[in-house]
Amino acid sequence: MMNTAACNPMIDDYFAELERKMSDLPETDRQEFTRELRAHVFDRLEQVAVATEADCRSVLQALGTPEEITRQYRLERIMTRSAWKVSPIAILRTTVRWALTGVQGFSVFMVALVGYLIALSFYLSALLKPFFPLNVGFYVGDHGMTIATWPAPGGAPLLDDYFIPICIIVGYLLTLGTTLLIRFVLRRIRSLKQRIA
């Protein structure tokens, strides 16, 4: 049986750091993953009868820093999970992470953000209409079309009876459209990645 006493504090520190870096991820996935990495570390150390601090340091070095490993873990998750996600929050969260990895990720994130923000503004308009009936509406004026203006623009808004349902439908379609678009892009990039490999 191996003796890793000299190593244990270093290993504990390493995994504490890893756990911290992964703390926002689902616990079961995280535990499964760190368990496997621990098995790897002990397997490596088993090659020597009594593991010294130096052995341990080189094993952990070869493994990579907790930061590197976490980054890879997140990237791989993005490539699988979010391709199937539907919730805007989940989509935004994964694209935010992805945005930090490069220009490509950043542009996808911006598209998602703009799409959802416009959708949100339609929902808000529908919500505000009952409270500010004269300010919120489809007004066509000198400055083009406006939806919500202060002070009230005056004149008759277009399609006022249908304003709330139209806003809700347009908001919903925009949310759905953005989600489908981002999922399509994520899957596309994933399959491209596979083809390159």
Binding site: F33, E36, A39, D43, E68, I69, Q72, M79
Partner: protein, 126 residues
């Protein structure tokens, strides 16, 4: 082994090489499982012997996780007679199919590129 690692680390400063290595890693992992089921460290050993693809060993595990998620691999914790349990991986039917098609693609891809590189590497024509 240490020598190999030093060498690959120096090379990794080259971005193109890093990208290429990354892209090939998935194929190499799948191919390493062709003969039998292996656990993480065994896969790494096979890769060490046959390629210099791996820079940070820990990065292989998230990739294994994704390949499993995609249905190309299956895995199971196996209790060892002495020591601790290990997570073994093996190819699913879809995984075997995938690695064959990836292998064919790789072959024709490499052949075309080698053809293209012939004059470059022969140093002729200038």
């Amino acid at each position: 082994m240490a020598l190999l690692r030093n060498l690959t680390k120096a090379e990794a400063s080259d971005k193109w090489e890093a990208q290429l290595r990354k892209g090939c890693l998935e194929l190499a992992i799948l191919a390493s499982l062709w003969e039998k089921r292996l656990y993480g460290l065994e896969i790494l050993r096979v890769l060490e012997e046959n390629s210099n693809l791996v820079l940070a060993e820990g990065k292989v595990y998230p990739i294994l996780g994704r390949l499993k998620e995609e249905g190309l691999l299956q895995s199971e914790w196996v209790e060892a007679e002495a020591g601790h349990p290990r997570k073994y991986y093996w190819l699913t039917a879809a995984g075997r199919q995938k690695v064959v098609s990836m292998g064919h693609f790789w072959n024709s891809f490499a052949a075309n590129l080698n053809q293209l590189l012939k004059p470059v590497l022969n140093g002729k024509g200038r």
